[in-house]
Amino acid sequence: MAELAIRDALRDAIREQMVIDERVIVMGEDVGAYGGSYGVTKGLLDEFGPERIRDTPISELAFVGAGIGAAIGGLRPIIEIMTINFSFLALDQIINNASKIHYMFGGQVPVPVIIRMASGAGLSLGAQHSHSLEGWFAHIPGLKVVCPSTAGDAKGLLRTAFEDNNPIIFIENTALYGVKGEVPEGDYRVPFGEVRIAREGSDATVIGYSGSVPQALGAADRLAEEDIEAEVLDLRTLQPLDTHGVVESVRKTHRAVVVEHDWRSGGFGAELAARIQELAFDDLDAPVARVAGVEVPMPYSFELEKAALPSEAQVVDAVRAMF
């Protein structure tokens, strides 16, 4: 099993798919000569040429829409939006077109487009480059939302995305691109809609996705020192959501904490909390807790940014408070 950084695991998946399927093209800002803002597409231009690795103008609306139109026309495009923050410029195409075309035209044409984007805070990028809005996209029927936190999942989920005929919002965390992990060799996939049990435990379930998973794991380590065994779940995909996997764990531990970098009000954690109480109310020994971002535009100044994001200590406190 190879040890790879997330960005390298993603690149391997893309390269392997481009070799076997000529319909796959990559489009986005600086994906070619520059190698991708976060280095995911580095080297692909040399290998596949400028027709399949296309640098686009800074026109998110147009190149995302063009990716959707290319999928309709028979290609399997991978669109890179440099960061989730810029996806707002293309929301009309993603929401009004990509998510609806299959349905509103009576199921006549699928839209197999993968829209990759980097998300997350913690790198002192300020208010306009630090959003964690995975939950926004998960709100929209017709989209699938994938947000891995490990290299193995990044590759396995991307490979599953290649076989899906729907628009996939594939969200990568900016702070995790360089994090290494084991990636199985050969032809393997990670299915959508299946949580990963990142750490087994019996006393509380801590649920994270994307950038909040490492924090959940860190908190679990600290809780173990106090003899509290937390089970950590990595959702991996928000749409489809493995409600069953979450509820199974909560039935075992009787306590649940959701950790997310997104703002609390109307965030994905609220959806999870609602589902848990709908399906496992009688199993709960305490109300479902949420540890989320403070509801401010992200400040630049380092200590303030840290204070705006959920911390390991907050997760530990939330679990402790349930006993």
């Binding site: 000529e22 027709e51 609306l61 063009a66 959707i68 309709i72 026309g73 006549q108 899906d164």
Partner: protein
């Protein structure tokens, strides 16, 4: 253009075909208005009368393998493309036999088999899609074309400028057709558009662009023909601004406070259907031939209404059926790794349809 010159070289049946399509659209739209008033059609209904020459002239020159992306005033385009009037009317009625199985409605007509790639109801939203499908054409190496139809209202959207730029830098096989009917809803184009000659905006993106009389079906046809020929020779995108007019309000809800009746009357005097009939009569067509067309479209539209009335609404059980397309990934547990897929190249196989079918059946199999 003289009459003789304008019809010269166009087969008789084709000329009658143009008249038939325009008359069909006119009749269909008037009937749709009536059905709306009777509560059979709900929601928004944007009608096409006045603009028939533009849609018919344009679409008459397309090949079966060309793609069309349109806007929400698209009944005329759909009928011109050969979608069945019955299935279009059924869609307006919300019936399962409609072109979009009742899920789309008036603004979202679609027929994949005719490469009628949909009516879109966000102004300008279809332009990037058209560019993308043109990119697929370019990548697959064929010589078909994507047509993007939009109104004068779309030209102040960012999507318009971004799409023209993208098409120009990548030399995409797109024909942009602006139906300038002078009003974006109730706002005259001159009040909101800095360059009054819209076609000149395309020139600054380095593409060939021209303004045509959108009330003259032969002029539209002729200019479209020339533009398509150049695009098929890989000369990059082209732009046509068709000057036209809609007789009816923006939608059925429009009280038309913003324009004088006399203005509408002035445009009606150069009605595209009457003008074309005059051309045909002067070119030795018989009155009876033209009247026969009117009778034929009356019958077609009556049939369409009967069909729509008699069709069923989509069963409630199908409400969530098409939210997601079926995928190989759904069968992950049992599925084997997919076969490698080679993109089809024109030199390898001139039969584009075969490739389409193969890819469609792959979706089915999935």
């Amino acid at each position: 253009m003289s009459i003789e010159k304008s019809v010269a070289g166009i087969p008789r049946e084709e000329l009658l075909g143009l008249l038939h399509k325009m008359a069909l659209i006119r009749r269909f739209e008037l009937k749709a208005a009536e059905m709306y008033a009777r509560g059979r059609i709900k929601g928004f209904l944007h009608l096409y009368p006045g603009q028939e020459a533009t849609g018919v002239g344009l679409i008459s020159r397309l090949r079966d393998d060309d793609y069309i992306y349109s806007h929400y005033r698209e009944h005329g385009h759909a009928l011109a493309r050969g979608l069945e009037p019955k299935a279009v009317m059924a869609e307006l009625f919300g019936k399962v036999t409609g072109v979009s199985h009742g899920l789309g409605g008036s603004m979202h007509l679609f027929d994949h088999s005719r490469r009628f790639m949909g009516g879109y109801a966000i102004v300008g939203g279809q332009l990037p899609l058209a560019c993308g499908t043109a990119l697929a054409i370019q990548q697959l190496g064929t010589d078909n074309v994507t047509v993007a139809i939009f109104g004068d209202g779309a030209v102040n959207e960012g999507s318009f400028h971004e799409s023209l730029n993208l098409a120009a830098i990548w030399r995409l096989p797109v024909l942009f057709v602006c139906e300038n009917n002078l009003y974006g809803m109730g706002t005259h184009v001159s009040r909101v558009t800095a360059t009054h000659d819209i076609y000149r905006r395309a020139e600054v993106y380095g593409m060939r662009s021209e303004q045509v009389d959108g009330m003259d079906v032969l002029e539209v046809r002729d200019h479209v023909d020339q533009a398509l020929r150049r695009i098929r020779k890989h000369e990059g995108p082209a732009f046509i601004e068709a000057m036209t007019y809609r007789y009816r309000g923006h939608s059925m809800a429009d009280p038309e406070f913003y324009r004088e009746k006399s203005e509408v009357e002035r445009w009606r005097r150069q009605d595209p259907i009457n003008r074309f009939k005059d051309v045909l009569l002067r070119a030795d067509f018989e009155e009876e031939e033209l009247e026969a067309i009117d009778e034929r479209v009356d019958a077609e539209v009556e049939d369409a209404v009967r069909f729509a009335e008699q069709s069923r609404f989509p069963p409630i059980e199908t409400l969530t059926q098409h939210v997601y397309a079926p995928s190989a990934a759904d069968l992950l547990e049992t599925a084997e790794a997919p076969e490698p897929v080679q993109a089809e190249k024109r030199e390898e196989s001139p039969d584009r349809e075969a490739g389409e079918k193969a890819s469609a059946s792959e979706h089915e199999a999935a």
